[in-house]
Symmetry: C2
Subunit: 312 residues, 2 copies
């Protein structure tokens, strides 16, 4: 994906941070602005027989916000481009999607600051999010946005929560679709994921060296972090969400937990900061090494599982 865009734009784009979860932009007179765009497309990313229109809106916003979380940024606002099939003549599909957008916006304190609605053959929701790393109104902006590329040999890799819940939720929905009235909360990890904004901000303030969100599967995203940082990894453990299998934890996407590389000396303080904030306990996956070819889980080679975006 990134390689593709980079190719089309003649490599100039690398300078703008596209190798990270989000781009970083200097605003004249302001701090760095962290920006990202993410689209969800009917038939590619979701199936309306398995989730409500409001779930689609919620997920689209949370998926985009997760890219801010992975940089340690706090949201400033979101812009929504909504394309809806002409057949939904009464606008109920679009209204449902926007209701979910509004819920996610409220839950994340991320106001919707722009939008566009168009007809289309299928439902598409493209969400652009803008964020900042400076605590609003403070003189001290703290550390800058956290890249994927800053991890160092000897760092510990932790994750903010168990993985595989989203894919397990999808499996559950395929076996037993959610009630249309919203009373049955089947597959909620799939339908209502949460961007780990607070966790990402704490990790940035706690000196994390590198971060990435688990959007395409832990076993793919940990490789990406290692690739960007030029390191290897030896993992001992993978936390599996309740109801999920290890394969789902490794290969499922859309969990939106954060993988964090942090120096061993900083880990205890980071754990304490998470505890003081009432967040879930960080789970240690393993360590990073200087050999970029070392990519193991419990001593065996870890394949690049997970959902790789493909063209064509």
């Amino acid at each position: 994906l990134v390689q593709f865009i980079r190719g089309a734009l003649g490599n100039g784009i690398e300078a703008f941070g596209l190798r990270d979860d989000a781009g970083v932009l200097e605003v004249p007179g302001g701090g760095p602005l962290v920006v990202s765009v993410d689209s969800v497309v009917e038939g590619v990313h979701f199936d309306l027989s398995l989730c409500r229109p409001s779930d689609v809106g919620w997920k689209a916003v949370m998926g985009a916000l997760s890219d801010l979380a992975a940089m340690g940024a706090a949201p400033l606002g979101a812009l929504i481009a909504l394309c809806v099939p002409g057949g939904s003549g009464d606008g109920s599909l679009a209204l449902g999607v926007m209701a979910g957008v509004a819920e996610a916006s409220a839950a994340s304190a991320c106001p919707v600051v722009g939008g566009d609605v168009s007809g289309a053959a299928e439902l598409v929701v493209a969400v652009t999010v803008l964020g900042t790393v400076g605590p609003a109104g403070s003189g001290d902006p703290g550390p800058g946005p956290v890249s994927r590329a800053g991890a160092r040999p000897g760092d510990v890799v932790v994750v903010t929560g168990p993985c595989g819940g989203s894919l397990a939720g999808l499996r559950e929905l395929r076996e037993r679709p959610a009630a249309g009235d919203g009373t049955v909360e089947t597959g909620s990890a799939y339908r209502r994921p949460v961007a780990r904004l607070r966790e990402g901000a704490l990790a940035r303030l706690g000196g994390a060296h590198a971060m990435i969100d688990v959007s395409d599967g832990l076993a793919l995203d940990v490789h990406r972090l290692a690739d960007a940082s030029g390191v290897g990894f030896a993992l001992d453990d993978v936390p599996v969400a309740a109801g999920a299998t290890l394969d789902e934890a490794l290969g499922g996407g859309e969990d939106y937990e954060l993988l964090i590389a942090v120096g061993p000396a900083e880990l205890d303080d980071l754990r304490a900061a998470f505890e003081a904030d009432g967040l879930r306990e960080l789970v240690r996956l393993g360590e990073l090494s200087a050999n970029p070819d070392e990519r193991t889980l419990r001593g065996a080679a870890l394949e690049r599982l997970g959902w790789q975006h493909r063209l064509g």
Copy 2:
């Protein structure tokens, strides 16, 4: 459109400026950030038998940038969400679109700072643009973003150039499709419109009271400006692009010229600033009045022509 989103989000959104061409966002420690998103969808906004993929990319970027121009903002960056049909297996459609995006980006000094590529049933390009009104590095940000709503009775309404060229170009293309090799520049006003960023910035610095871009047709957009400002208008003249008809100038969209409401005392200075900058001469359309029900062209009622976005 805006009413629709506002309804879905429970009216909270008006505070975020969605009634204007672009939203305005305060960045902690920085000046106002001007943001907008615009989508183009195959079969709704363009037909690939009438224009090249690079034209689609160019138009998508310029259409979004035109919203910045209408606020008097200078571009900081763009984010591209690209959805391409799976059938274009070799990626040539996506590469063509991105080539046009890169051309428009270079022509506007607006770097691409983020992107997302997905499969889809038809080609969709959603472009988010970010801009600023403060001259980079200067201590004085000048006047803020120009709204649609600031026009006053007695203001003169001017337009930055003749209208109808885009629709006339589309008609021309339907009669005689462009050569695939790009040597025949049929319909270039349709295929390669230009966002009037310099004009918008000069108008803002020159004290314009209100602006809007002619994206959906002059005869619709002048009503919108009058609606937002609570004024009426009496127009004497409409400049018609070479090869276009008066109906095309009134009802065609995507011209991306700017309608500017300016105090009569400021008009001469604004004309001089345009001339000093080598820009085309501003064309006077008429005057604004205190009676919001007065909506005339040469004494006759001016209908709301133009392309109104519809759902369903």
